[in-house]
């Protein structure tokens, strides 16, 4: 029961309280770049979920089966980047062959997030928080779901902004950044939940 509660806490915390985009301010590049339409935002969110889950799993294994036994933990960052980049490439190839449908919907977004800081961030946070394998996976998936939630909400707002009369100095990115910061303030309401 204790483990279950702990896992639930980690999940809730990574989705809402420590939301990667709005609270940790990681992964801002795709958050601003791929959030003009809800449709593409969902695609990006799915791709991020996929990559983050895989990255959490593999980097945990790399950390505890390769880096720690050899005493080279300080190589964490570069080793993780290498692992994640190679992994995403591999997955992209496999998807293209085995399921063209999924590749069509995810494929374009995968290369965009290979070296995204949110993905690297989740891998490193798993280690610093000293999560075990299952907890790491949950943290990865939760963080990615939080990212998806944030980007889809943001895209919904931006779609409506497109149709509104915005003063000229605020058109485009300025209003997007203001929106993002307001969303961030809104998400601060979740702090203290866990």
């Amino acid at each position: 029961m204790d483990t279950f509660i702990r896992i639930l806490t980690i999940l809730l915390s990574s989705i809402l309280v420590n939301n990667f985009v709005l609270s940790r301010i990681l992964g801002i590049c795709p958050f601003l770049g791929v959030s003009k339409k809800v449709e593409t935002a969902v695609g990006m969110g799915m791709a991020v979920t996929f990559v983050m889950a895989m990255a959490s799993l593999i980097t945990w294994l790399v950390q505890y089966f390769i880096l720690v036994p050899l005493g080279v933990e300080y190589m964490q960052t570069i080793a993780f980047i290498l692992v994640i980049a190679a992994l995403v490439q591999l997955v992209e190839m496999m998807l293209q062959k085995t399921s063209p449908g999924l590749y069509q919907s995810l494929g374009v977004y995968l290369p965009l997030i290979t070296t995204n800081c949110a993905v690297l961030g989740v891998a490193i946070l798993n280690i610093t928080e000293q999560y075990n394998l299952v907890e790491s996976l949950v943290n990865g998936v939760g963080g990615a779901l939080g990212f998806t939630l944030a980007i889809v909400l943001f895209a919904g707002i931006r779609e409506r902004l497109e149709l509104s009369a915005i003063p000229k100095p605020f058109q485009g990115f300025p209003i997007a950044l203001i929106t993002a910061s307001l969303m961030s303030v809104a998400f601060m309401g979740f702090s203290g939940l866990v």
Binding site: V72, L82, A86
Partner: protein
């Protein structure tokens, strides 16, 4: 002392090598075979992925072309040269492609066209149209909220200050995306070589139109009666210009009481080479405007009445007449 360095080199080098081999093997194993012809066809398509052909981007059309499900003419953007190459790749004959261009068929800018009510909603023509068919008094009018400009993949449409879209004909490829999105059908894709078109789609007559708009076609039929080439017929109270018969004399453009027939080309007029002219009078007979003066067997002269239709150029057996820009 050197141990950490050596270990880090081994770890990273090992990881790198392992992933390299893995990716190499995977690339071979999971290689997706693509039809070579589809790749070649794709290279000759414009690559703008405008979707005007109805397929998901240029790749989609390339696949459909190879499968024989589509015609090259489905792509409005592709040049004649590239279309020919695609025909060679696929072993099919490609006919002459007529370059097309989108044109705004409305002159009802603010001040011309009245508003039914004040609109304060989402800045999108489709959204505005959903409320009582738009806020313009004329149900054919351009709503001017710029939906066409937003969907244009070629950046060819801008919104003019007068609330009417403006199309840059050099950038427009005639893909038809804007036509699909315009709720008012104020845009039409027309052949590029026809330089006279009607700037109104209101099928009403006389007062019906005049009450709402001071620039709309009232269906008076003056243009159809005037046209010396019989190129204009009236349909649904609107002039229809036959591109085969129209010779760009612009008589209709000038004489239209509502000024709603538009042109795009620069003005032309005929010029007689006095060295070649023998005064046979054939040109004067051919001219529908009586613009050519001169006695028989004397060098003829083009007067200012000339409208540049080019009939005299065709009539002259000696090649003494050429068409030149008016200015």
């Amino acid at each position: 002392m050197f141990e950490p360095i050596i270990w880090s080199v081994i770890v990273l080098g090992g990881l790198g090598a392992a992933f390299g081999v893995m990716l190499g093997v995977a690339a071979k194993k999971f290689a997706v075979k693509k039809d070579e012809r589809a790749v070649a066809v794709r290279e000759n398509l414009p690559g703008a992925n405008c979707g005007g052909c109805g397929y998901p981007g240029c790749d989609g059309l390339a696949d459909a072309l190879v499968a024989g499900k589509a015609e090259v003419s489905a792509c409005a953007v592709v040049s004649q040269e590239n279309a020919k190459k695609i025909g060679e790749i696929l072993g099919i004959s490609v006919g002459e492609l007529v370059p097309k261009v989108a044109r705004i068929m409305c002159l009802g800018s603010e001040g011309h066209c009245k508003n039914k009510f004040e609109y304060d909603g989402a800045l999108d023509c489709r959204a505005a149209y959903a409320i009582a068919g738009g806020f313009r008094a004329c149900k054919f009018a351009c709503l001017g909220l710029g939906t066409c400009a937003k969907v244009c993949k070629f950046d060819a449409i801008t919104m003019g200050p007068d609330g009417i879209a403006f199309i840059d004909e050099n950038k427009c490829t005639g893909c038809g995306r804007c036509v699909e999105q315009c709720p008012q059908s104020s845009i039409a894709v027309l052949p590029k070589n026809v330089d006279v078109y009607v700037g109104c789609t209101n099928t009403g007559r006389g007062r019906e139109v005049m009450e709402n708009c001071s620039a709309g076609c009232i269906g008076c039929g003056k243009c159809a009666n005037l046209c010396p080439f019989g190129a204009i017929t009236m349909e649904n109270n609107l002039p229809v210009i036959d591109p085969e018969k129209c010779r760009s004399c612009w008589l209709c453009v000038e004489q239209c009481p509502r000024k709603c027939i538009l042109t795009t080309k620069s003005d032309m007029r005929a010029k007689i080479n006095p060295q070649k002219c023998v005064g046979c009078h054939l040109c004067a007979k051919a001219c529908p405007f009586g613009a050519i003066e001169g006695e028989l067997k004397m060098t003829h002269k083009i007067t200012d009445i000339c409208r540049g239709c080019g009939l005299c150029e065709e009539a002259c057996k000696l090649g003494a007449i050429t068409m030149v820009p008016k200015s």
